[in-house]
Point group: C2
Chain length 471, copies 2
């Protein structure tokens, strides 16, 4: 009997276990889980803290019982301490500090990521929280319900910071979001960042951009957050959400090669440099499909894919990871913000000659009630015409999320921008136009590509607004 040992009970680890068991019911699968919350949707934490998900148990993708019913063994509240790759065994310790060795034929590491701790004085003060694990979220929930804070400063304007702004606003708290970049959410272009900022403002969330927070101090019953650009803000609580870093101490101790930001290096089969050890999820470097290079890009979708592949290969499969395009979407109040592929600046860095065209139109024929404005950026290579990336922002009911997926599918297949008009997409007046907005935006890009020699300086950000039609 093959013994498959998996370290990590979140997206990558559980996906790997389920896939292995699905393909080979005889394999013995054990997952070492550091806490007692395997297979939780940590992406759902903001909605638990907002009150929209009343019971944290509902955040489980599956219950422990559902997992063990498939024949998978869960070793909850066990921390992996070291890996002996020669002897193919892993030392684990339980909550009572009892150690033991587990042997394996194949090992999958899915230890995930941990929040980045910025160098800010006062991070350990009461009322200051980092947010990543279920335990973190219980601490925040406890604080919210017992201390009843009226205000919060959120350090970090990435998607978790913005979801938390929405969540705490939902609790009727006064919220301030502080970010280092000149515009909100630096993973999208400034024009979309400005739309997000306007949305936050309309819900009375304060936004402070270009601010580097350097200290949090206790002053009486309150905290004072201070930063560059003369930023000072009194608040009842602080949430720090400035990104994550891969958790790979264990992997490094076992001799696994690491790279960018310390993430484990893997090949497309999710194999590490050490025989019989695979790794997947937020702890690994991820292949970017478009540039064909490894980057650090932790996303739940990617962790599921990579885990599934590691699980398949660990039981004798021969599956390769197709690569990520960094496709993502976040909902902030009633606005969805999405991206896939490369932005203009990223495309330049990757050696392309990008042209980016901004386009605004309606999600469906404007004569039918309820049309929502979509703001679309298309980035393509001005020389080859290849589609490189897209960003869409607009009301979430404008099918923003699945429209970015049309672009993502197009990039997956190396389409040219011009070829997007060839896609046979669905239409009815209440839901689209005869040319879908993604096709109108692509046509606007093509028009500007053919005029590009008339464009003088930067090729970026030619804005075409409002016609909402294409021929």
């Amino acid at each position: 009997m093959t013994h498959l040992l998996i370290i990590g009970g979140s997206d990558a680890g559980i996906s790997a276990a389920l896939r292995a068991k699905e393909l080979d019911a005889t394999v013995d699968v054990t997952i070492v889980v550091a806490d007692s919350y395997p297979n939780f949707s940590i992406c759902g934490i903001p909605f638990y803290l907002s009150g929209e998900v009343p019971d944290w148990r509902n955040l489980a993708h599956r219950t422990s019982e559902e997992i063990t019913q498939t024949g998978i063994n869960l070793l909850l509240n066990h921390k992996a301490l070291s890996i002996d790759a020669e002897q193919k065994k892993v030392k684990v310790v339980n909550a009572e500090n009892q150690e033991k060795w587990l042997t394996y034929d194949k090992l999958i590491i899915g230890t995930g990521a941990v929040p980045v701790q910025p160098t800010i004085d006062g991070l350990n003060l009461p009322g200051v929280f980092l947010l990543h694990s279920m335990a973190d979220s219980f601490a925040v929930y406890q604080h919210l319900t017992t201390e009843q804070p009226q205000s919060a400063v959120i350090i970090g304007d990435g998607y978790i910071g913005l979801e938390m702004a929405d969540a705490l606003n939902h609790r009727r708290m006064s919220v301030t979001v502080v970010g280092r970049s000149p515009s909100v959410m630096r993973t999208v272009d400034a024009s979309i960042g400005n739309l997000i900022a306007a949305k936050l403002g309309s819900r009375r969330v304060e936004v402070a951009s270009s601010v580097e927070v350097n200290a949090i101090q206790q002053v009486g019953q309150q905290l004072v957050v201070s930063g560059t650009n003369n930023f000072h803000k009194n608040t009842d609580m602080v949430i720090v959400a400035v990104g994550v870093r891969p958790l790979t101490d264990l992997a490094e101790s076992a001799g696994l090669k690491t790279g960018l930001r310390g993430a484990i290096q893997v090949n497309r089969k999710m194999e590490t440099n050490v025989p019989n050890i695979y790794a997947a999820g937020d702890c690994v470097e991820t292949l970017h499909r478009l540039i064909n290079e490894y980057i650090y890009l932790p996303l739940g979708t990617t962790a599921h894919k990579q885990g599934r592949i590691a699980g398949e290969n660990a039981v004798g499969g021969d599956r390769q990871f197709a690569g990520s395009l960094g496709t993502q979407v976040v909902k902030i109040f009633d606005m969805a913000v999405s991206r896939t592929g490369l932005r203009d600046s990223e495309a330049q860095n990757a050696g392309f000659k990008p042209l980016t065209v901004e386009f605004e139109t309606w999600d469906h024929k404007v004569y039918y009630p309820g049309a929502k404005k979509l703001h679309i950026l298309v980035t393509g290579d001005s020389q080859t015409g290849r589609l490189l990336g897209a960003q869409i922002a607009g009301h979430y009911q404008g099918e923003v999320a699945k429209r970015i997926d049309i672009f993502a599918s197009a990039i997956f297949h190396n389409m040219k921008v011009e070829e997007i008009s060839e896609l046979d997409l669905s239409y009815t007046p209440p839901l689209s136009s005869p040319w879908d907005p993604v096709q109108m935006a692509a046509q606007a890009w093509v028009k500007h590509q053919s005029n590009q020699f008339a464009i003088t300086n930067s090729q970026f950000a030619i804005k075409i607004s409002g016609s909402g039609r294409a021929n």
Copy 2:
């Protein structure tokens, strides 16, 4: 100066004209329009008749002024009578019955389609309407507003019939939909047809299936609609919507080859068999991309694409039509019903060995409020694993329309069902799951493909319900 003459002022004709003018501003473009409503969104007629679009003028994609401002000449209320392909001229007649000849260098025919007139006695009775043109819709509107009918029978349960059921229900009329097939909307499978029927029932729209209507009679102030299966229904008005046929008398008179249902035969450049004459839209046979055969499949999206290509090629371009997949969506009350590619029965007819798997899940993580159930059918070739088609039904806010487009994009690129799991699709708990529902459905298909030898009789309709999760 090149003279481009276009017959038909709807989707194909206008798209052709705009594209030609965009590529070559010097070309002289004239469009012969049979009525005074060029570039109207006839797909929007049901929403005008429902009252949701209060002013019919808003159904115009563009006004006549916007079109002529681009330099395109509109010859409104002119009917093309004959084509002299030798002399390259077209005889037209205006509303005052004055004839004249128009010369051309290139001619594009976009005469569209007309409603099929079923063989039913009483079709000419007052209160009985066929619905296709703006003039038709004015007649219906007039009847609705002056006669104030309280009930309607709609003959035809295709998408126009169902949209009209929704529209007249919106006017608080008692509506009965009568269809020939055993389940509603025979362009989708019965399991989805049954969902539509249930939705109609929940809104008190009566559905009569497997009924062939053969007579409409005037009895007092009312009409009586009679058909097979002992169908008799008293009603205040009748709408007949049993499909369309290509309008190609003119083309045939000019010696253009026609094929299926009399539609004009074209190649992928939208050229007809007669030099310098192109055709596009609902009057032509359309290349189906997947089976690589010509079929009759009139859709507004296709008409736009074909018109654009005809316009480009007419001014010296060399563009080929990529083919249609029959992607379509219709909104019926709060339900969206969509399809792309081939259904199981169609795939069998095309020589594939289809396997179709039904799958139900939620549009997004069910812990987040407002999750909508999606009903997904995936059809793939059981031997090669190739994706052949998909159907999705569910609440329209479950991004049904753009989810079918993910399948459509996958078919466009000849993907295998299994490869859909490789697509990097967007996720956030309020809008999807780490595996998008389209990927979960694809995984369910793959699981059943590998088990297919265990499936005894028909390979169709293995239903997997409710788990809403995938690994």
